[in-house]
Symmetry: C2
Subunit: 333 residues, 2 copies
């Protein structure tokens, strides 16, 4: 059976993604074949097209996020039943330790073929019945960003109702979920961005304080004055992270899941004297994924930026590369 | 009543400490007067003589660590009874939150007159009945370093039996207590130092693996190969801390309580991809102090470097400034 899939044959940026017909995968033992109805882009996909990712093997069907229906079960694979609406946990083989992924952990979409295709074969334990009440596009928005945000906010960040979280550089999928999850949990949100339009969107989604770091060079002081800040969630690294560390209250927590602007230089005194925690996180455990779905089912609507047909994936990925989006960029398949 | 006390009248290093006769303090309401029999030096005392400490007011009797007997009770002060052997918790007004000290927190010996004197007046809640079986010199070795080490190792570090802890730059009071506490708790210890003599002492006290970072430039690789390292306890900061962060296992913890060599530059990727925690700590709560005394009572003997009479305090402090010691430097009074 042939299917349409967005493939990467060589490194060179999003424009190298080509949609073509290839043989559909077969579910192996313990695997499930999912008919993908919607997928979503992540920065990871763009980084892979640029060669900025370890262990790239080509050609490959990219894509970590997908939702659709169960199409077939491989030998020995059980739930969910064929035809059931489902969403895929892209974290493969996390391992036994909830505190950290194990040596066999991998993310769907590299090196294993991913969700930018009509069909994807994944381990049965990565296929979850879809929470009710969400469109397939909303379901596709959840997996990687929702998982990362859930773990950053709660499992690692320990955010409690009534606390204040500083979300640096909002607009991307993860930070937008952090905002949605934090508001749902009864926390107060301070969000920064270099774009007034994104800050306006953040306020629509519940952000209590928004700061434009391009027009307010002292944004970290403005944020601290709007605090006390119990938790920072950051993926920017560099000087921005250093300033965010300086903005958190004594005894506060800083969770990082990325470092786009590179190395961070910190004063040990500011960490030990203030009894701070800096906690790293990436993706999340199966427990995190289940808890994230439960939280969404309790009433969180993902923020969707735009929806593109799969054929326009290069345009969609370019939008992500240019950091123009607010929320998830969806692909319908 | 006159008493002998080691006073600092002006900044200029340990040689500025002068032993003189001054009026003994009176215990205020809720305070206890302790007849100090032995005290101990901390780097903090040396830093203060050098002016390297915030909010220095002079002249001042220095000293955070002291043990002796209860000499008198101020109005409304209760336990322990007069004449009881006691040890002083130098952490004043920690506050209500076990996670971090409060805004009124201070350390005995600056700005409040400290233990390098025949008598010191302290809040009653800071005076603890001495655990049995220790000499007064051993008791005096406990407070600041034992408290800091207990919190770093257990409250913040979460060290468990069977885990491995890397102790960078052993020899000082805190790191030596981390070694003693970790071995008592059934953990494995890797210790580094630039001195073979200190490493030999560390082995005598139970260190399982010792590495001289002067002769082994790849000490962090040697340490990692001797791991997996679950916990690092560091007070050096700088490049040493960055290398220690790189040596810890995925999901491991790095606790810092100082930063003598200055700023640290870290790669965010190495933190978030490995799900690491970097946790700052300083001193400890009353709960930490009580737990530390209980641990010592269960069979930990402090490591004592040398004992000096109070009159030789400048010589003793010079020894600390030169980092020649292994364990605590004691003053008998």
């Amino acid at each position: 059976m042939l299917m349409r899939a967005a493939r990467l044959h060589e490194i060179g940026g999003p424009e190298r993604l080509t949609v073509e017909s290839i043989e559909a995968p077969q579910p192996g033992p313990g695997e499930v074949l999912v008919a993908v109805r919607a997928a979503a882009l992540n920065h990871r996909d763009v980084f892979i097209t640029q060669g900025l990712y370890p262990n790239i093997t080509l050609p490959r069907t990219l894509g970590s996020d997908g939702a659709g229906e169960v199409a077939a079960l491989g030998e020995g694979a059980s739930a969910p039943v064929v035809g059931a609406a489902c969403v895929i946990d892209p974290m493969l083989e996390w391992g036994d330790d909830p505190a950290v992924w194990g040596p066999r952990a991998a993310i769907l979409g590299m090196p294993r073929d991913g969700t930018f295709a009509q069909y994807v074969a994944v381990p049965a334990e990565n296929v979850y019945a879809a929470p009710r009440g969400l469109s397939v596009e909303e379901l596709a928005a959840l997996p990687l960003a929702g998982l990362t945000a859930y773990r950053a906010t709660f499992t690692r960040g320990g955010l409690q109702a009534g606390e204040t979280v500083l979300i640096t550089g909002i607009g991307g999928g993860v930070q937008t979920f952090v905002l949605l999850f934090a508001k749902h949990a009864g926390a107060r949100v301070i969000a920064t961005s270099g774009s007034d339009a994104k800050l306006a969107r953040a306020r629509e989604l519940g952000a209590d304080v928004t700061i434009n770091y391009r027009t307010d060079e002292q944004w970290y002081k403005t944020a601290r004055a709007a605090g006390p800040i119990d938790l920072v969630v950051d993926s920017s690294g560099g000087a921005s992270l250093a300033r965010a560390v300086g903005a958190v209250r004594p005894g506060g927590r800083v969770v990082i899941y990325g470092g786009t602007t590179g190395d961070v230089t910190l004063k040990p005194f500011s960490i030990f004297w203030q009894h701070l925690d800096i906690r790293g996180t990436s993706m999340g455990s199966p427990q995190d994924f289940r808890a994230m779905l439960d939280l969404v089912a309790a009433g969180v609507r993902p923020a969707i930026d735009r929806t593109f047909p799969l054929n326009d994936i290069a345009t969609a990925a370019q939008r992500m590369q240019d950091a123009e989006q607010f929320g998830k960029i969806i692909l319908t398949i």
